[in-house]
Symmetry: C2
Subunit: 491 residues, 2 copies
């Protein structure tokens, strides 16, 4: 079941050949490939969800929802590439009167990078795995994909891969355009192989950094789109706390316990004004009451969670408010400390407890939240809970510099797939803060621009021809032109 | 004159404070800053050109043209950011009927990265130095700039920096938004400093790779936009050669001798059908006749050129057609070899001779140019010279995979600054193949997206407010909306 080096090389070579065969395909045809994958995944939904439930301990409704998200994403990307926005097609006609001197006819289009290596995530067996956001956006971009199956849902990974390969074959996409490999050695070799031109990765900061370093050390370094760890701090103002304390705490519990806290967007730290701990305990207990529990995703993840939880909970100054624990099933835990302790041990702000645990940090009334926010490294998300008439410009400004997504009176778990979504953030949230792992903007990660200078119409790619045969939106001589407008050569 | 570590840290901290003071400034004001710099450079044109001529040995008309290009670029970027396209502002209103389940109100905008370190190039004392493309695009993006002055035009670098600082002060831009440093130690520390969030670099492959590695090794790795070396191969088809040999050779000579061959886009290798070498010599001599010569940029560059020229010219199978040489002034040189030799010594395709030398590679009639093209690494440019009725789809496809810009019956030197320009390419042409060093698209390198989720209007950045106060083009609920159209909340 483990891919050896020869098999891996063959799959990568086959993927490269498929990429070459597919690189000039019209966007509609490529969109059709994505839709075919979505259909075939849906046709096998019951089988896949059952497999996933068995391997990950995640609840079936959550898994059905995740699969629906995955197929929705494939179809959204299909419609997006049919529009052609991902090409960023730009046409500058020859202009002898151009300000810095005569310019030649020059046109730019985004082209796919080649074969992309994608590492699946443990906590999203569908949406960030075999045909998750990285694979879907790489295929949408025109790349081929070699996917490293995650050990945590290995049978599911292999079966999903079969279904994807079958779907692509059914619509006559080039053979080898998608394939799966497994094993640690194959994963490392995947990052090293000269025909691999980019990596998509979702996982831990340590594992992701090691592979990022590997990608940078190659003779030809390649972009490494790694989504790593995040604490996702939440800042509650005094005013919001006074008016809505119990509601905020109840929503906080809902968010941090979702899928047993195994989300990269789990709120890991909540800053709230000092309050009676007995009262807090009461409200938290009420909110936790009736929450269903389940085993964590797998043994390795469980060990990691136990280790980080024990590290944080045994620090001097950190009190266990709700102990959580349990052998096969992990009950949610809440730790509590003060800003004094945070200032003495800023490392507390960097310790992700990946699982059902969170830390409340109590601040004194009048304390400056901006200074606390400044202590954070890069985050996927940061949230504020405040009243409409409060001015949080400075706090939002500091969080903006450290985060990919900012939320206001909302919770970071649940990442919708839209045009505006950004799921990224400065390191260590990701290894490429300019890129998103979710939303249609994810497609652009796997493309790069090429300019065609003084080219005859016969050899221009369709996206750049004057008659715009693909009917895409383009920028022509500085002006954006919708496909319905005529835009021949301007004088 | 050399910046010590304390001075450097102070300049970076001051730049960071200026970035923070300036980050919410309206695009029109920022555009005004760029225009003020352009004006002040023009006001000091004679002084600057004289200084540059003295330090670089480049001819005055070339230097005047380069300065004009630099100020044009500043003004083009100013008008570009006033349009607001660089924000990629995207608004998705709350939608309970969204395909994967209800979505919150989510909006995305590009924000500046922070302080950018910019390394000046030896061969473009204006256009790729103090206020060249990297600095201009970083300032346009909303970043602050700390510039490492190049030793090759040190006095010019210091003086230009003063003029830039003066211009920024005259329009009340925050103090510290631009500053200059010098010395090797300062350069390394610039890459390491935690407040530096990106690097722009133009220079040699070895120097650039060393700094790229340094940027990757940081606790928080940062994007390194390095423009390194390129051979810029030119492929002449048999048909074009038969019909236009002498014209092609004459244009080739014009291109490779421009500014003494000290361009990253110099055509370093030309593939042409086998021809009588005596005849070739005749045509080349005629074309070279009357070309003015000048000393190379500086002694260090001269030594590098001599070394690489001697390495290539003494390889077995390489013949010196035109010897070039000379002590203080370097005369242009032409080497010649065959595809047989190339196949035996593919390293020949990777040896950039930065200066007035080029290599003709003769191929046999009927030989497959595609196979030769496949031997190349990443290039800034690749060119073909062919007749209109020839089908070069395969050759262009292979070159597309290896190049940032493709040219047809045109020469790579002379890189116009436009909307469609792309000056980049796969490694080792650059360290970031998705980025361009020239053209308006260069601005986006120094920005990253941030999403605002469920935010009240009071705390949304202007680019994302429903009433679009900056009047920029945005994508709203999937549809691009020009500022003149109304686009309130959709249902």
């Amino acid at each position: 079941m483990i891919t050896n080096v020869n098999e891996l090389d063959l799959k990568i070579e086959s993927a490269h050949a498929a990429y070459e065969a597919a690189r000039n395909v019209a966007p509609e045809e490529r969109a059709n490939w994505l839709s075919a994958i979505a259909r075939n995944l849906e046709d096998h939904a019951s089988e896949l969800v059952a497999l996933a439930a068995k391997e990950t301990h995640l609840a079936e409704p959550r898994l059905r929802g995740e699969l629906a998200r995955t197929t929705f994403q494939l179809r959204l990307f299909a419609s997006e590439i049919a529009n052609g926005d991902h090409f960023s097609a730009t046409v500058d006609h020859k202009d002898d009167g151009w300000g810095m001197g005569p310019r030649p006819d020059i046109r730019r289009v985004n082209v796919p990078l080649g074969v992309v290596g994608v590492f699946g995530a443990s906590n999203f067996p569908f949406a960030f795995s075999v045909m998750g956001g990285d694979s879907a956006s790489a295929l949408a971009a025109g790349c081929a994909v070699v996917h490293k199956v995650h050990e945590g849902h290995f049978q599911l990974g292999l079966r999903t891969s079969q279904i994807v390969v079958q779907a692509l074959a059914s619509v006559s996409a080039p053979s080898g355009l998608f394939s799966a490999v497994s094993g640690r050695e194959a994963g490392e070799r995947l990052v090293d192989h000269p025909l691999i031109k980019a990596i998509g990765f979702t996982g831990s900061t340590s594992g992701g950094r090691a592979l990022f370093d590997r990608a940078c050390r190659r003779p030809e370094p390649i972009p490494f789109f790694g989504e790593l760890g995040s604490i996702n701090p939440v800042f509650v103002t005094e005013k919001a706390w006074t008016l809505r304390r119990d509601i905020i705490l109840s929503e906080y519990v809902d968010s941090f316990t979702l899928s047993m806290g195994q989300f990269c967007t789990k709120p890991g730290i909540l800053f709230a004004p000092t309050a009676d701990r007995g009262e807090l305990l009461e409200v938290l207990r009420r909110s936790l009451d009736g929450k269903s529990s389940a085993p964590l995703l797998n043994e390795r993840l469980r060990e990691g969670f136990d280790k980080s939880f024990s590290k944080v909970s045994t620090m001097a100054g950190v009190t266990t408010l709700i102990p959580g624990g349990g052998k096969s099933v992990s009950l949610p835990a809440v730790l509590i400390t003060t800003t004094d302790m945070i200032r003495r041990r800023p490392k507390l702000l960097r310790e992700e407890m990946f699982g059902p645990a969170t830390l409340i940090v109590q601040y004194e009334r009048g304390e400056n939240l901006v200074h606390l926010a400044e202590m954070f490294e890069g985050q996927l998300t940061s949230s504020v809970h405040a009243e409409p008439d409060e001015d949080l410009t400075d706090l939002v400004g500091v969080l903006r510099d450290r985060s990919g997504r900012l939320l206001w009176n909302a919770w970071p778990t649940g990442v919708t797939v839209t045009y505006a979504q950004h799921h990224g953030g400065p390191y260590p949230a990701t290894t490429a803060s300019g890129a998103t792992a979710v939303g249609t903007a994810a497609i652009g990660r796997f493309m790069r621009p090429v300019a065609f200078d003084s080219f005859p119409a016969s050899h221009l790619p369709p996206a750049l021809k004057d008659d715009n045969p693909w009917g895409i939106r383009r920028r022509v001589d500085g002006r954006w032109v919708n496909p319905t407008e005529t835009h021949g050569v301007t004088e």
